[in-house]
Amino acid sequence: MVTLVLPRLLDVSGTSRRSASVIERNVAALKSVYWLLLLSGFVEPVLYLFSIGVGVGQLIDGFTLPDGRVVQYAAFVGPAMLASSAMTGALAETTFNFFGKMKYLKLYDGIIATPVRPFEIALGELGWAMVRGSAYSAAFLAVMVAMDLTTIGRAVLAFPAAVLVGFTFGAIGMALATFMRSWQDFDLMGSAQFALFLFSGTFVPAEDYPALLRWAVEVTPLYRSVHLVRDICVGGSGGLWLLDVLYLLALTGLGLAVASRRMVGLLYK
């Protein structure tokens, strides 16, 4: 038994060590401007929160949730901004940058000449995206608490949810990146992403949509993410959040499996 299990355990620690070295490489390769860009990344969702949540919110007196409670519009929009910025950040790192590194920089061709395997590259890149994304999410939640849009207790709970959202979209993004043919495909992805951003119950509850659109929207990953984070930040939908978590976990697993499978095909030629 020991002889059977021990090597596997050792192997896991090897995997994480090798994935960490991919992250180390990314940190070492950062240029000074890119640091600035990285540090300022959390600004964007905060700007959206102020513009749409507060600015447009002034035009709306008392936003009535589907369950009848009345909240500030900013409290309704805030969690959605958190979830969608977790999506955008994770997708940017795992599709655009990942594709560039794989196809044009030929970075991974170099890496697979070392003991690091494709799955570990995927894991490392995902880990790196998550380090960034989680820091942004934490900063955003701090802003929400400061603006009195949620409580500290709820914010602490919302943090792991935002990290999970990031992981899910990071894994999906990496799987997608292995299918991309050229930069033009990213235009299509960007459009799909923007459509998700507009219609995933972000600015108005999905209950407002016509029935058909509503059902289509409710199965998208961003809708489930918004639903999960909003449920934690403002409360409301009973035990349905468990379903969201399971759904996101399943998608993460699927994304990672597809990505590493396809990378084996693309890199081991």
Partner: protein
């Protein structure tokens, strides 16, 4: 001793009377192959914004803004901000890449073109992109019944001027920076804040003191105010010549700066 003369070169086609037209033709030829992807980002997305935001959020804005539906109120703002996005998008990475990556400008400056021809030809293409996106957007919003007045047509020259007012300085900026990360910074710290706070989604008057003046300083606000006056058929908040002169000042200043920087990089 007679050495065989190399065959005489065929005479080259003469430059058009306005040499910038040759440069514009170059970009249009390339665009014929890639316009489909651009249709998505520069036309479909603003339309989706009208539906998702104007209709969706508009349903919660009970009393409207300034006495009109929220949808009708944001349409002119979205028109101007679409032109802004297209104009700046087309003058950041493409310009940077023409210097740094594919070096189109170097090739063009080796041809009998002056610096101003290279600049004017590329700017004309950016203007073409912004205007076609704006015309399409205006037609779609007309179907939503969001245009209240025949003056709406006057919004087109306004967005053209806005396009030049933001594209020309952006050309200068893209010629000056040494890494494309600076282009992403421009979007994060100028384009996105401008789009969000310069009166597109909510009235600038509800911003606190300093921020309001910052918003008034952006070229976008001036164009939004003019477009809104045009599509709603009302008087703008500020004088029309004032708006136009302010935008023109940005365009001229940007042009002079861009020409200087282009010359510095291309003339050796």
């Amino acid at each position: 001793m007679s050495v065989a003369q190399p065959a005489r070169e065929r005479p080259r086609p003469a430059l058009p009377r306005v040499p910038a037209r040759a440069v514009l033709a170059h970009y249009l030829t390339g665009y014929r192959r890639t316009w489909r992807a651009g249709v998505f980002s520069s036309f479909l997305l603003p339309t989706l914004t009208v539906v998702g935001f104007g209709l969706g959020v508009g349903a919660y804005v009970d009393q409207g803004v300034d006495g009109v539906r929220y949808l009708d109120w944001i349409v002119p703002g979205l028109l101007a901000s679409t032109a802004l996005q297209v104009a700046i998008g087309e003058s950041t990475w493409p310009v940077f890449s023409n210097f740094q990556w594919i070096k189109t400008y170097s090739a063009q400056s080796a041809a009998p073109l002056r610096i101003v021809d290279i600049l004017a030809g590329h700017l004309a293409f950016v203007l073409f992109r912004a205007l076609t996106a704006s015309v399409a957007f205006l037609l779609v919003t007309a179907l939503f019944g969001a245009l209240h007045s025949g003056w709406a047509v006057a919004a087109l020259p306004v967005v053209a001027l806005l396009c030049l007012a933001v594209a020309a300085p952006t050309f200068a900026y893209a010629a000056a920076v040494d890494s494309d990360s600076w282009l992403a910074m421009l979007f994060r710290f100028a384009v996105i804040p401008m789009t969000l706070f310069a009166g597109v989604f909510f009235p600038v008057e509800s911003l606190p003191g300093v921020l309001r003046w910052l918003a008034y300083g952006t070229p976008l606000w001036h164009a939004v105010d003019l477009c809104r006056a045009a599509t709603l058929g009302v008087a703008p908040q500020w004088s029309v010549p004032g708006h136009l002169l302010y935008l023109a000042a940005w365009a001229v200043g940007g042009w002079l700066l861009a020409a200087r920087l282009f010359r510095r990089r291309l003339v050796v």
